[in-house]
Amino acid sequence: MSVFAIISSAAAAAEEVHGEAASAGLPQLDPTWWPSQLFWLAITFGILYALMSGKFLPAIGGAIEERRDRIADDLDQASEFKGQAEKAEQDYVQALADAKAKAQGIAADTRTEVDAEIAKLQAETDKELEKQLGVAEARITEMKTKAAEKVRDAAADTARALVETLIDEAPTQEAATRAVSSVSSD
C-alpha cells in the first residue's frame, strides 16, 4: 500500500519535472494507473480462476470423462454381444451337425431294418414257392405215372384187339399187359 503510494508520488513528481515530455511518452511507463490495473487484474483473473477451477473445468472434464466411459462401456457390450452371437452360431452349427448325424443314423437303421424284412419276406416266399413246386412236381409225377399206365392199358387193349382181329382169339387182359410190359422200356 505504502509502496504504491511512494511509486505514485514519485511518478507525480517526475511528471511535474518532465511536464510535456512525460505525457508524450509511453503510457505504459506512467505509474499513475499501475495500482488500478493490478487491482482490476487481480479481481478479474481471480474471479475467472475461481469459476474455472470450481465450476467450468470440472463440468467439461466430467462430460468428457463420462463420454469416454460410455464409449468404453458400449464397446465392451458390443464385444460381449459379438461373443454371444459367435457362440450362438457355433451352437447352431453343432446342432445342425448333430441333426445330420442323427438323420444318417436313422436312415442307416431303417435301411438295415427294411433289408432284414425284405430278406425275411423273400425267404418266406421262397419256402412257400418251394413247397408249391414240390406239390406240383409230385402231381406231375403222379400224372405221368397215371398217363403211362393209361398208355400201357391202351396198348394192351390195342394189342388185344389186334390179336383178336388177327387170330380171332382174344388173349386175356393179363397176358396182353404182360406182353406190352415186356416190350416197353419202362
Partner: protein, 263 residues
C-alpha cells in the same frame, strides 16, 4: 477535407478513468483497461456458462468448442509437466483463456463516434499487466519448487555431469537465466501486443493522411489500407500465438519446479 482526424499511434494505449475509485490513498479507478478486463472475463464466463449449461453426452456446438480448448490445454499440461501437472491445469487454463480473450478483444474495431474512454483497449499491451501475470507464474514456480523439492530445488542452478571448474560459470548463467524468466515472459507478450497495435495504427494513420491530402494522392491510400488488413490478420495469429506461448512457457517453468531434483 473530410474532417478526418488521425490520432497518434500511442493514444490507443492511454489509460482513461471511467469511474473514480479510491482504496485509501490508492487510486483504483475503473479505467478503460479495467473495463476491457471485465468485458473479456465476462465474455469467457458467458461462453463457458452456455457451454456447460447442459453437459451432454452428445455436446452442443458451444460445448464442443469448450471441450476442444479444454483438451488442448490439458494435453499441453500433461505433455509438458506430466501427471503431477494436473493440479496446475486450472491455472494454466485460466491464464491461456484470459490472455487469449484480452488479446482478441483488443482487436475489435472501436466505434468511432463513442467516447475515447470506451474505445477498444488491450490490457495485455501494458507491461504492468503482463509483468503481474509473469510474477504470478514465477511465484508459483518458486513456492512449489521449494515445497516439492526442498533445498533440492536449488539443484536447478547446479547442472550435473560437468567439469568442476565450469560449475561457477554455469551456475551464474543458470541464475541469470532463471531471473530473466519473468521479464522475458512479460516483455514478450507486452511487446507483441504493443508493436502490433502500433503498426496497425500507423497503417490506418497513413490511410487517413493520404485521403486527407486530397487529389490524385488519395489513390495511394489503397496501399496502407491493404497493409492494415494484412496486419490485422497477422495480429489475430499473434494474439492466439502469444497466449499459447505464455501458457507453454508457464508449463515449462512449472515442469522445472516439479522435476528440479531429477536434474
Amino acid at each position: 477535407m473530410f474532417g478526418l482526424r488521425a490520432e497518434g499511434p500511442m493514444e490507443q494505449f492511454q489509460i482513461l478513468p471511467i469511474v473514480d475509485l479510491h482504496l485509501g490513498s490508492i487510486d483504483i479507478s475503473l479505467t478503460n483497461s479495467a473495463l476491457w478486463m471485465i468485458i473479456g472475463t465476462g465474455a469467457i464466463c458467458l461462453f463457458f456458462l452456455v457451454a456447460t449449461r447442459r453437459a451432454a453426452l452428445i455436446p452442443s456446438r458451444a460445448q464442443s468448442m469448450a471441450e476442444v480448448i479444454y483438451e488442448f490445454v490439458s494435453d499441453l499440461v500433461r505433455d509438458t509437466i506430466g501427471a503431477e501437472g494436473r493440479k496446475f491445469f486450472p491455472y494454466v487454463f485460466t491464464l491461456f483463456i484470459f490472455i487469449l480473450a484480452m488479446n482478441l478483444f483488443g482487436l475489435l474495431p472501436s466505434l468511432p463516434w463513442i467516447a475515447h474512454e470506451l474505445h477498444t483497449f488491450t490490457p495485455t499491451s501494458h507491461l504492468i499487466v503482463t509483468l503481474a501475470l509473469a510474477m504470478v507464474t514465477i511465484t508459483i514456480v518458486i513456492v512449489y519448487g521449494f515445497y516439492k523439492n526442498g533445498l533440492g530445488f536449488l539443484r536447478l542452478f547446479w547442472p550435473s555431469g560437468l567439469p568442476l571448474w565450469l560449475m561457477p560459470l554455469l551456475c551464474l548463467i543458470e541464475v541469470i537465466s532463471f531471473l530473466s524468466r519473468p521479464l522475458s515472459l512479460a516483455v514478450r507478450l507486452f511487446a507483441n501486443m504493443f508493436a502490433g497495435h502500433v503498426i496497425l495504427k500507423l497503417f490506418a494513420g497513413f490511410v487517413v493522411s493520404l485521403i486527407g491530402a486530397g487529389g490524385a494522392v488519395m489513390a495511394f491510400s489503397i496501399a496502407p489500407f491493404l497493409g492494415a488488413i494484412a496486419v490485422t490478420a497477422l495480429e489475430f495469429l499473434v494474439a492466439a500465438l502469444q497466449a499459447y506461448v505464455f501458457a507453454v512457457l508457464t508449463c515449462i517453468y512449472l515442469s522445472d519446479a516439479a522435476h528440479a531434483a531429477d536434474h
